[in-house]
Amino acid sequence: MATNKKEHLQNVLETHRMKHVQNLVDKFKTKRNEVKEALEAHYGSNIYYSFDSGSFKKRTAINTKFDLDVVVPFKKDSFETLEKMYDSLYDFLYEEYQDVTEEIRKQTVSIGLIFEEDEDGDKICLDIVPGRELNQDQYSEDNKLNLFVYRKYGIFSSSTHIQTNIQAQIDHIKAKENERKIIRLLKIWNNNDGKEYKSFLLELITIKAFEKEDISGNLWEKLEKVMEYIKDKVAEDGFKLIDPGNSNNDLMDTLEDWEKTNLSNRMETMLERINSNSDNIKSYFPTNKDFEDDDKSSNSSGYGIKTGGAAYSTPPKNERFG
């Protein structure tokens, strides 16, 4: 039984839409607003308006795994050092939420809040990213922030702080409808296949593929071309993925050589398997079964017609009734 790859991928995207988990999203947003208000009350004029970033904002979220990111831009003179800013935020969040969270943890550049399961068994996760404007009172104009690097990792291994422009990162993906579809598909794959790669990396590499190659055709053809691009380029010497928030950051530096080879090999194997049997596409790009309609035409009302069937039916030869 062959699978129509284009239709399947459309269904994958459809079943991973955030609207299916609107209740949960609402819970996230309510919690996020609570935290934002608490931060604004506590830090007052030391911060600019906190804003949302991450996959929600970029509209690349998938409903099987997501968290909400909140960027808190501090004024230059609010803290002497970035570390003090980071610690102050951690201390405040800890004081405020230790009783209602399962974990408050220091992450690479953010502080993760994992709230206790509510009565529906839902766990809300927020990532709070503190940043300090680069130059006093310039933030409103240039959006430039300095982040404190808590855990030395990958590109962050050599420094204790990192300059970035989160707004520019968000703008980078704006109005890129086709890219977003592919990014979401690759995130769905990654989430299902070991979660080895950072979403930001998949995002940048997809956008770059669209810039460098002629990525066209139907949804599958586009995905296939992006995968080919990743396969061909990612392990090449000198292949760079520049962070739109800071041209000095190359996301490829976060991968070891063997990880680059691995990613290239993954793409190759997947393309090979899918092309040898279209049903394999479902192994790599699964639908979210929780939100799957069996088939468009077998919605719960109306007379159903099989897709791809003949215009009229001929009853099978011999049937016995009793």
Binding site: E117, N192, G194, D279, S283, Y284
Partner: protein
């Protein structure tokens, strides 16, 4: 020409044979003498030579040519009768075989007689298996955490295992459980808990003498006289006391373990069998009224059989890497697949395998699993635990609550805190193997955030394919393989009696072939540190092919 002439002539023609003489033909062999001489050899050496008539073939797996010189017994690889142990090889041609064997003799002379080389490996003492009171006696020991000190002695606790037949006679087999020092300290042998918990059935005594109880380090002492310098007097007193305490068992045999070092870290035990009431010692009073105990030097020592069954020796001929063998493993579902996985891992040296299954072994399960007939109906887990313990004395197997995976997890996975409690329980392991083919369970396990590795194994009908998936990419992959990709023909399933669900058709040979290959591949992934990529093994008319996804 006859065999005698052939052999004599061929031997005479070997360049370093100075002389071959006194060759005579006997009923089953020919016998003669040779003088070996070559440049590196200061003085020529004479050997008595025996060639059996089956030569160049072997006789009863023993070499049918012997070179003897009883003056050489102190050298390495020389038997008590002066026979040199040489490396031989298979030849059916008389001339080639003679040439080869004489060159082996020459190599021995150069290596051990002239250069007096030592081997890297220890040459164990040769002890002939001996019938004592009409049967053989064997004792297996294994590693202990503590070292022994020269001259220390004490009691030994022993558990008897199977009685059996050995060289057509009865044999009593035992394992040593612990050594009890004079101060009461117990040094435990590191068997698995199941063996440690077995009842103590016999006692013995031990003395650690540090050097091998052997002449030239290889011929075991024959008389108590040989041992007299090694046995501390306090030990002999202890032995006398020991005999008094056990005198009501007069006539029974008591093993005395004599321990010694074989290299910097390893030690070995020989066992002398003593008869209670007739110990080879005698106590008498000196003129100064003091009692002393001395051995009856003229008596023969009756050596029993010992074996070093330490983990290293037990799995010495082949096992998985240490890092894999030490993994804490849980196998969920021990039907055909699961029982094969468990047994294979056990034979490959794994030490910690817990198992979970709520099913019963029925007679009809036996033909294609590792279960056995003569236990009748039994919980699969209980039987498998038993079977694994019969294979390895080092395997620790716990049975996980029988309802945990089939029941509890399913009832509570939606409850608050349910998942994190399952995660905590599974994260106690390094590796969890799900062989249940239970889609519901796979679905739940797939949703967990696990630190441990989880592997899902299943096969299609007729064992055409084996599907192996690694967490966190199990559920979707396996379902898609079974429902869409593979042609799993479920129209022809085997329906057992009763109304439980039908099962796939495949023989032990079909399944174990795939299981062995899968385990080999998985072990290899761990060894090479490769990415754990899901794979299918396709069994296509006897060609096995691994297809990685």
């Amino acid at each position: 020409m006859g065999f005698l002439d052939d052999v004599t002539k061929l031997i005479s023609n070997i360049p370093f044979v100075e002389k071959a003489y006194d060759f005579v033909e006997e009923k089953l062999q020919i016998r003669g003498k040779v003088i070996i001489s070559f440049k590196e050899l200061e003085k020529p050496l004479e050997f008595e030579i025996v060639v059996f008539k089956c030569y160049p073939l072997k006789y009863n797996d023993a070499d049918s040519i012997k070179f003897k010189n009883s003056n050489l017994i102190e050298y390495r690889h020389v038997m008590e009768d002066g026979a040199i142990c040489i490396h031989t090889t298979h030849h059916t041609n008389l001339k080639s075989k003679l040439n080869y064997d004489f060159h082996s003799l020459r190599n021995w002379i150069v290596k051990y007689y002239i250069n007096k080389e030592q081997d890297d490996h220890y040459e164990h003492i040769i002890v002939d298996d001996k019938l004592i009171n009409n049967r053989y006696w064997s004792y297996q020991f294994t590693d202990l955490k503590h070292p022994f000190e020269k001259g220390e002695f004490g009691e030994v606790s022993i558990t008897s295992i199977q009685l059996g037949t050995f060289k057509s006679n009865l044999i009593s087999n035992h394992i040593i459980q612990n050594f009890i020092r004079e101060n009461g300290e117990q040094l435990e042998c590191e068997w698995s808990q199941l063996y440690k918990n077995m009842d103590i059935t016999n006692s013995g005594a031990y003395v650690y003498i540090e050097t091998p109880p052997a002449t030239y380090g290889k011929f075991i002492f024959t008389k108590w006289l040989d041992l007299q310098d090694h046995l501390p007097e306090r030990f002999l007193n202890f032995l006398l006391e020991f005999q008094k305490r056990h005198i009501k068992h007069r006539g029974k045999l008591l093993p005395l373990f004599i321990g010694y070092k074989i290299d910097d870290v390893n030690l070995h035990w020989q066992v002398a069998m003593l008869e209670i009431g007739d110990f080879p010692i005698i106590g008498y009073q000196l003129p100064n009224k003091k009692w002393i105990t001395i051995p009856k030097n003229e008596l023969d020592i009756n050596w029993g059989i010992t074996r070093n069954t330490s983990y290293k020796y037990f799995f010495g001929r082949g096992s998985f890497s240490q890092s894999f063998a030490e993994k804490k493993i849980l196998i969920i579902g021990v039907g055909a697949l699961g029982s094969m996985v468990a047994k294979t891992l056990t034979r490959c040296g794994c030490r910690f395998i817990d198992i979970a299954d709520n099913d019963i072994k029925e007679p009809e399960n036996v033909c294609r699993s590792e279960y056995i007939f003569n236990t009748g109906l039994m919980d699969k887990t209980e039987e498998l635990k038993f079977i694994l313990s019969t294979i390895s004395p080092f395997i620790e197997t716990n049975i996980v609550d029988k309802d945990y995976f089939q029941g509890i997890i399913k009832l509570f996975h939606k409850e608050k805190g349910g998942k994190s409690s399952f995660e905590a329980n599974l994260n106690k392991y390094d590796l969890v193997v799900d062989c249940t083919t239970d889609n519901d369970l796979m679905y739940i396990l797939d949703s967990l955030d696990l630190k441990c590795d989880l592997i899902n194994l299943s096969i299609t009908n007729f064992a055409k394919e084996l599907v192996c998936a690694f967490h966190p990419n199990t559920y979707n992959f396996v379902m898609n393989q079974f429902m869409n990709v593979l042609e799993n023909d479920t129209s022809d399933l085997y329906n057992p009696t009763g109304c439980w669900s039908p099962t796939f058709k495949a023989s032990y040979n079909d399944i174990s072939l795939l299981v062995q290959m899968a385990i080999k591949h998985i072990h290899n992934l761990y060894e090479t540190g490769s990415r754990k990529t899901n794979f299918i093994i396709e069994n296509d008319s006897s060609n096995l092919k691994i297809v990685e996804y």
